[in-house]
C-alpha cells in the first residue's frame, strides 16, 4: 500500500513525535509513505484568517504535486488534513475560486486528490483485524480517553471524518490494542488550537476543562491525533498547576505512539522522550500480548 505522505511543518518542530511514530507504525504495517518533493506549508490558521484565495492556494500547490504522483495523500496533522480538504471543497464547489486558485498556483487543480488521515487508512485500508493480528503487546486495560478535537471532525461536510459529535475511530483502535476506551463528554471540545501564543489564558482555561474531565472519567492517559491538541494538553498542564495548584499529570500520547508500543517498536523511534508529561506510567502497563 503506497501513499503520498504530507508531513506538515510541525513534523519538524512541535510534533516531531507525531511524525516519527506515524512513520515507524507505517513501516511496521507495510504502509509505504512517499513524501512529495518540495512540499510546502498549508497556510494553517494564519492563511484562512487572512485571505480565502491564499488559504485555498497553499494547500492546492501540494495537492497538485500529489496528483502528479497518482497517489492518495496522507495528511497526518489534523490542521493540514483540514486545510487540504477545505481546498478540495472550495475548488470543487466554486468555479470562481477554482480559477483564482489556478492563477495563483500556476496550474489548474480540480479538487479530486483523496486526502486521508492515518487513522482512516488504518481502519479502512488495513482493517482493524489486520491491525489486531500484527500486535505483539497489549495496553492491558489501560483506561484511555480518546480525544479528537475540532479539525478532523468539523466542518463535517468538508472533512467527512467519522461522526462529528461522537466519533469512535480512535476508540476502535484503542479497544483493538486491549485498552479501555472511556465514555466521556469532551471528545470533540476545542483545546484552544492556534491561540496558544496569543491568548494563553483561553488555552489554559479550555485544556484544564478537557484534561480535568478526562481525569474525572478515570483516564490514565489521553490519546490524540492532532499536534495542536497534543502540545496544548501536554504543555499547558504545568501552567494549570501553577495557576490552580491542580496537578493532572496525565500523559498525552499520539494514537500512533500507543500503537507503536503495542507493535513492539522501541521508544526512541516513537518520539516518546519528547512528551512533557512522562509516559512512564503508560509504558509500565503495556505487556506482552496473550496471543503474541
Amino acid at each position: 500500500m503506497k501513499y503520498a505522505y504530507y508531513p506538515g511543518c510541525s513534523a519538524h518542530s512541535t510534533a516531531r513525535d507525531m511524525h516519527e511514530s506515524a512513520v515507524a507504525v507505517a513501516e511496521a504495517l507495510g504502509i509505504d509513505l512517499v513524501e512529495p518533493e518540495g512540499w510546502t506549508c498549508c497556510g494553517a490558521t494564519a492563511a484562512h484568517q487572512t485571505d480565502r484565495v491564499l488559504a485555498a492556494s497553499l494547500p492546492a500547490a501540494n495537492l497538485l504535486k500529489v496528483q502528479e504522483m497518482g497517489l492518495d495523500m496522507i495528511a497526518n496533522c489534523a490542521a493540514c488534513y483540514n486545510r487540504m480538504k477545505t481546498a478540495n471543497h472550495e475548488v470543487s464547489n466554486n468555479p470562481a475560486m477554482r480559477k483564482l486558485v489556478s492563477e495563483a498556483v500556476g496550474k489548474d487543480y480540480d479538487g479530486t486528490v483523496k486526502v486521508r488521515h492515518i487513522i482512516e487508512v488504518l481502519l479502512e485500508d488495513i482493517g482493524i483485524d489486520n491491525v489486531k493480528s500484527a500486535l505483539k503487546r497489549s495496553l492491558k486495560s489501560l483506561q484511555v480517553a480518546c480525544y479528537y478535537g475540532c479539525l478532523l471532525v468539523r466542518p463535517h461536510e468538508v472533512t467527512n471524518f467519522d461522526d462529528p459529535e461522537n466519533p469512535t475511530s480512535l476508540d476502535k483502535l484503542v479497544t483493538a490494542m486491549g485498552g479501555i476506551s472511556l465514555d466521556w463528554p469532551h471528545k470533540v471540545e476545542c483545546c484552544g488550537g492556534g491561540l496558544s501564543l496569543t491568548r494563553t489564558d483561553i488555552v489554559i482555561n479550555l485544556t484544564d476543562s478537557i484534561v480535568g474531565m478526562a481525569k474525572a472519567a478515570g483516564a490514565q492517559c489521553i490519546a490524540v491525533s492532532c499536534p495542536m491538541c497534543q502540545i496544548n494538553l501536554d504543555l499547558r498542564q504545568q501552567d494549570i498547576e501553577k495557576q490552580s495548584q491542580i496537578r493532572h499529570n496525565i500523559p498525552i500520547l499520539y494514537v500512533t505512539q500507543l500503537l507503536g508500543l503495542c507493535l513492539d517498536i522501541s521508544s526512541d523511534k516513537l518520539g516518546l522522550n519528547k512528551l512533557m508529561v512522562s509516559p512512564a506510567s503508560v509504558i509500565e502497563k503495556i505487556e506482552v500480548h496473550a496471543n503474541g
Binding site: C9, S10, H12, S13, T14, R16, E37, G38, W39, T40, C41, G43, A44, T45, A46, A47, H48, Q49, T50, D51, R52, V53, L54, S57, L58, A61, K65, N94, L100, E103, A104, V105, G106, C150, V153, R154, P155, H156, P164, E165, V188, E189, C190, G192, G193, G194, L195, L197, T198, R199, T200, I202, N205, L206, I231, L235, Q238, N273, K274, M276
Partner: protein, 194 residues
C-alpha cells in the same frame, strides 16, 4: 435573484452602510436565514470568556451595524473550532463569518485586541513566504518583539529545544518558488479588487 431586505441606519443624520453585505461577500454566507436560536453561542467554547457571543454578532450584523463591530473581542478570541457552523440548524458557516470579520478588521484597521493575533498571522505567513514552510523560532521572535511579551513561556524553551520540539535551523527543501508565486498573485488579486 431573490429580493433582499435592506436596513439602513441613520447615525447623526447620515445614512451608514452596514457591514453585513461585505461580510456575506467575503464569506459566501447567507446571513438572512439566521433566526437567533443561539445554538452557535451554546456550543461556543469561548462565549463565556468574551463580551459578545457569536449569536450577538449575527444579530448586530442584521441590525446594520458598521465598523464598530470590528472591535468585538470575540473576533480574535474565536478559536476557529467550527462548532457553531457544525450545529447551526440553517447551515450558516458562522466560523467563515468570523474569518470575514477578521479580514475586515485588518483592512479597516480596527482596534488592536488582546494577544494581537494579526501580528502572529503576519509573522507566520512571512516565514512561509520566505522558506516555503513555517520557521517557528523566527515567527515567535517576531511576535514577541512586536507584542513586548518577551518573557511569556520562556521557561519552557530550554526543555523544548532539548526535546527538539523547536527547530533551531530554518526549514530546507521546500518549493519556495511556488509559495512566492502564490503570495504574489494573491496580493495582486487583492489590489485589483480594491
Amino acid at each position: 435573484m431573490r429580493k433582499r431586505m435592506t436596513i439602513t441606519i441613520k447615525k447623526r443624520g447620515k445614512e451608514v452602510e452596514g457591514l453585513i453585505r461585505r461580510v456575506e461577500e467575503i464569506s459566501g454566507v447567507d446571513l438572512d436565514v439566521c433566526y437567533q436560536c443561539k445554538k452557535c453561542t451554546s456550543g461556543c467554547p469561548v462565549a463565556k470568556l468574551t463580551k459578545s457571543p457569536p449569536s450577538e454578532i449575527m444579530r448586530r450584523l442584521h441590525l446594520g451595524i458598521g465598523d464598530e463591530l470590528l472591535n468585538s473581542d470575540i473576533i480574535w478570541a474565536c478559536v476557529s473550532c467550527e462548532t457553531c457552523s457544525a450545529r447551526c440548524p440553517m447551515g450558516i458557516e458562522v466560523a467563515s463569518v468570523m474569518d470575514a470579520l477578521r479580514i475586515l478588521a485588518v483592512e479597516k484597521k480596527a482596534e488592536k485586541q488582546e494577544g494581537n493575533m494579526p501580528l502572529l498571522n503576519r509573522a507566520f505567513l512571512s516565514t512561509v513566504r520566505l522558506f516555503g514552510r513555517t520557521y517557528d523560532i523566527a515567527m515567535i521572535a517576531a511576535y514577541k518583539i512586536g507584542t513586548l511579551k518577551l518573557m511569556n513561556d520562556t521557561e519552557k524553551f530550554p526543555t523544548m529545544l532539548k526535546k527538539r520540539k523547536i527547530a533551531l535551523l530554518p526549514p530546507t527543501g521546500a518549493d519556495r518558488k511556488t509559495t512566492r508565486r502564490i503570495f504574489k498573485k494573491t496580493k495582486q488579486n487583492k489590489a485589483n479588487k480594491a
